[in-house]
């Protein structure tokens, strides 16, 4: 393999890894976002592709695993309700979604956004209008919870017994 070809391959691999990381982050943010916020953001984009359902929306269960002692061998804690759906949009792009809970409408919207975002033309709009603001909203909610929790931080003093 020539040096130039090797470099091209490496660049392609890096680009693919970036795409995967981007899609992973996008799907994770969309899944965690409250449905009403997601819907409000979606309406703002004005996007309206034709959608064909390839699979689902389907309700089911995901077995939740923890680790023994927190860091050891996995075990099953219980199950979490989940909904999954696969769509194809007008452009032919296929989108997948799996979210916890039973909101089929939200799951379908996530899959549609996943499909649309594979088109570079829409990816930027989706990032700017939907993903980034939702991610910010989630971070703010977490920060609020951390601040409320921080106010309950306690310093215990060990009392010295007056025995002498």
């Amino acid at each position: 393999m020539t040096g130039a070809g090797h470099q091209r391959d490496e660049a392609a691999t890096q680009a693919a890894a970036r795409d995967v990381a981007g899609r992973q982050r996008r799907l994770s943010v969309l899944a965690k976002a409250p449905a009403k916020d997601l819907l409000a953001r979606w309406k703002e984009t004005g996007l309206d592709p034709s959608v064909e359902l390839l699979r689902g929306p389907e309700s089911g269960l995901v077995a939740l695993q923890g680790r023994i002692g927190g860091g050891g061998q996995p075990f099953h804690v219980g199950e979490v309700s989940a909904t999954r759906v696969t769509v194809r949009i007008g452009s032919g792009a296929v989108g997948h979604a799996m979210i916890s809970g039973r909101d089929a409408r939200k799951a379908q919207l996530v899959a549609v956004i996943d499909a649309l975002a594979q088109d570079a033309e829409h990816a930027e709009t989706i990032e700017r209008t939907i993903v980034a603001p939702l991610e910010k909203g989630l971070a703010e909610a977490d920060a609020k919870l951390r601040e409320e929790t921080a106010a309950t931080r306690v310093n215990f003093f060990t009392m010295v017994r007056g025995e002498d």
């Binding site: 899609r23 089911g60 077995a63 923890g66 099953h76 199950e79 979490v80 931080r153």
Partner: protein, 374 residues
Amino acid sequence: MYVAVKGGEAAIANAHRLLASRRRGEADVPGLTLAQIAGQLSLAVDRVMGEGSLYDPELAALAIKQARGDLIEAVFLLRAYRTTLPRFGHSEPVDTGAMLVERRISAVYKDLPGGQLLGPTFDYTHRLLDPALAGDAPLDAPETAADTGEKVIRVSDILGDEGLIEDDPATDVSRPVADITRTPMEFPMERDARLQTLARGDEGFLLALAYSTQRGYARSHPFAGEIRIGEVDVEVMIPELGFAVVIGRVKLTECQMVNQFKGSSKAPPQFTRGYGLVFGQAERKAMAMSLCDRALRASELGEDITAPAQDEEFVLSHCDNVQSTGFVEHLKLPHYVDFQAELDLVRRMRAEYFAKAAARDDDAASDDAKEAAE
């Protein structure tokens, strides 16, 4: 043998209609919404999700409403519902070290990274009924303080260094993870299957057993090493995508119980650990689970099995309240044929008993007569 009955359709239909009316209560009082139950009776919802072994606050709230607040009935409803759904797969093991912590306390270390965070706790309340709660007075918003950004490190990760406390069991990725919902229980059970059973076990049953270990039945010298409550991301591998995505978050309570252990032929003196991990905010349950987990490790650690809490078949076969209630409550179903058969049997046994007694009396009487004659 149980013999089925038939008939009574109209009475049953009417009873269920009556139930619906009683469940609703006075018609001029507004009906409860699921959001009210999930939001204001959230610890009941957490308990139903944990023992129902299904994380879905809205469904658990519905189950509580349908069960008129009977939590074991609600657990039963949730378990029945889960059997109707397909299993998509399993999550990646959750990382409780990365939890968005809402409460974290340690009874063994006063000053630890991340601090002692009381969070929304009943601890240090006076347990006096608050008449103000009968109304709906506006509340002050929670106080806030700057977040230090300090990582809330798990106590087990701090203590691990010196070998004074046992490490987490080595991970063998090739070993399949036990699943009691797929494979019938078989004893002895591995710790993963035991923990799955305990995680959905009845809080009251596990609490009583945990208490028994403190009172001397398999004493394990426990300290609450750490209790943490908060949300973790649930990551699931999506085959179509070829990578894992976060599908949402769940709230969990984790308890690391640390137990003094004098050593045995199998293990040196050290602090051993019992582990509890439960859906939602369920501190009492997580603590009870960790005490029971530790007690059930008796044979692994070379301890004598002397107490009920150490007997895994006893503990694990009886901790499931859906199974327990099914068998206990089936007794109220019609057993007419059963009982008639037993009635007949007892009649015959009594007849034999009295016949024998009469024969004995006759013998005794004739003996007396003989003695008198002599």
